[in-house]
């Protein structure tokens, strides 16, 4: 009982320090700032409600990340189930100026990555996490993180080569 409120205070600290990284990751997933913010806030709200279930196994930061990432993925899947909105985020990003074709290709390639690879890639690049933290958040082994990153980067590298040529 006594720990629940200190958990709440720590949650707030973690939330404030990780907010930009949360938002970047959500943006990478959803491509829409409003949806990204909503997913992050919903995730944090879930963590607040479930804070008593945090047993101190691992860090509170990783625990919060897991919940926020789940919230982002849930929102991504919900949006994907709505046919009209699947591609909207990417098209709406920006200020109406046509995107360079190469970026569209990269986006499309990233979207085609298996979900776990995509998540690990985002956590690495947009949340600047080390392998151990990514493993904790994505609930995979550390070796899987490296392997997934290598696979994702290999896929993307071949695309980049095409873009450059």
């Amino acid at each position: 009982v006594e720990d629940a409120d200190s958990t709440l205070a720590t949650l707030e600290q973690v939330y404030r320090t990780q907010f930009k990284a949360f938002l970047n990751t959500a943006m990478a997933y959803l491509g829409d700032s409003e949806a990204a913010l909503d997913a992050v806030q919903e995730g944090v709200a879930i963590a607040i409600r479930q804070r008593r279930s945090f047993r101190g196994e691992g860090t509170l930061e990783a625990w919060l990340w897991r919940i926020v990432v789940n919230s982002i993925r849930t929102q991504y899947r919900e949006r994907a189930r709505r046919p009209s909105s699947v591609d909207v985020p990417d098209e709406e990003v920006g200020d109406g100026v046509p995107e360079p074709e190469s970026r569209d290709e990269v986006r499309a390639a990233v979207r085609r990555l298996p979900e776990r690879q995509r998540l690990i890639l985002f956590l690495r690049f947009y949340a600047d996490m080390d392998y151990a933290t990514i493993a904790e958040v994505a609930e995979v082994r550390e070796g899987t993180v490296g392997a997934s990153l290598n696979a994702a980067q290999a896929t993307l590298r071949s695309l980049f080569e095409e873009v450059r040529s």
Binding site: V1, E2, A4, D5, S6, L8, A9, E12, Y15, R16, F19, L23, N24, M27, A28, S33, A36, L37, Q41, E42, V44, A45, I46, I48, R49, V93, G94, S102, R103, V106, R107, V110, L121, F125, Y126, Q153, L156, R157, F160, V163, R164
Partner: protein, 292 residues
């Protein structure tokens, strides 16, 4: 173009979006004082009509209530407040508590004369944050003879709905909570001797304005308890009971005191306080002259 740069370019920077902890709390179901639920805007004339109706109902109900209660208890004054919120509160209220720790609070007693003029008094006191029935609060518990310098130290129990207060004017230190002192409780230090001691003390706090249509609550009852009190039952006039467990006060003050707190609807009028020991035995039935 590096792979990393290309990937980073895929995410448009989100400008001007800052962390909003209050929003997260609201989504999580917190409804503390500083997270007011705002009713949807209504057209002015509808609002006026509604207010007039509420006022009429309020006047009628007040007259009837006071008449009825006055007939029943001619020497008692009864506060009667309407609660216009749909919120209900659990009958068993187990608080979620942080840990007692020392923090500075500002604004105790009268202002202090200094070379720079009058300044607020700042003290380091034990504080505790908690939540009960979905509402946050902060308590301060300490001994001081600040209020009665010629008397022995008295126990002060400060209470602040919604958690720590905003900084006291002119400082960056949270304002001291409002609260009570001079509780006539067995085993607790008190500046003034009392004829009748009790097993608990209580303070009533109704935060925010009470408008003509009533408020939205909660109102708070809280206070100290003797060290053997483990539960406090708050019995209303209709016989319904809200039970709250007691919890330990700060050990740093050197006094074995327990505390309790309850969040109640405005229209729940507590008439009897029943402190109970670890076996559930009622230590007293304290009938209040003024229903709280």
């Amino acid at each position: 173009v590096s792979e990393q740069a290309l990937l980073l370019e895929l995410v448009e920077p989100v400008e001007g979006v800052e962390p909003d902890w209050d929003d997260a709390l609201r989504r999580a179901g917190f409804r503390a004082r500083h997270f007011p639920r705002r009713p949807p805007a209504e057209r002015p004339h509808r609002r006026t009509v509604r207010r007039l109706l509420v006022l009429a109902v309020l006047l009628l109900a007040t007259a009837l209530t006071i008449s009825a209660l006055a007939a029943d208890r001619p020497h008692s004054v009864v506060y009667w407040l309407f609660d216009r919120s749909p919120e209900t509160y659990p009958q068993l209220q187990v608080p979620t508590l942080g840990r007692w720790h020392d923090e500075q609070r500002a604004g105790f007693g009268p202002l202090v004369k200094t070379d720079h003029g009058l300044e607020p008094r700042i003290m380091t006191v034990p504080v505790l944050e908690g939540e009960v029935a979905g509402h946050r609060f902060e308590m301060e518990t300490f001994l001081t003879n600040l209020l009665n310098p010629n008397r022995p130290p008295d126990l002060v129990v400060g209470f602040n709905p919604g958690g720590p207060a905003k900084p006291y004017y002119g400082t960056d230190i949270p304002a001291a909570a409002g609260g009570g002192f001079g509780f006539p409780v067995y085993g607790l230090p008190r500046a003034f001797p009392e004829r009748h001691l009790h097993w608990v003390g209580w303070s009533l706090l109704v935060p925010g304005p009470i408008e003509s249509g009533g408020g939205t609550g909660p109102k708070w009852l809280s206070g100290p308890a003797a060290s053997n009190v483990r539960r406090v039952d708050l019995v209303s006039g209709d016989g319904s009971v809200v039970s709250v467990p007691t919890f330990p006060g700060p050990s740093s003050i050197g006094v074995s005191v327990r505390l309790w707190v309850a969040a109640l609807r405005l229209d729940r009028l507590v008439q009897t306080i029943v402190p109970r020991d670890a076996n559930g035995k009622a230590l007293e039935h304290w009938h209040l002259d003024i229903a709280q």
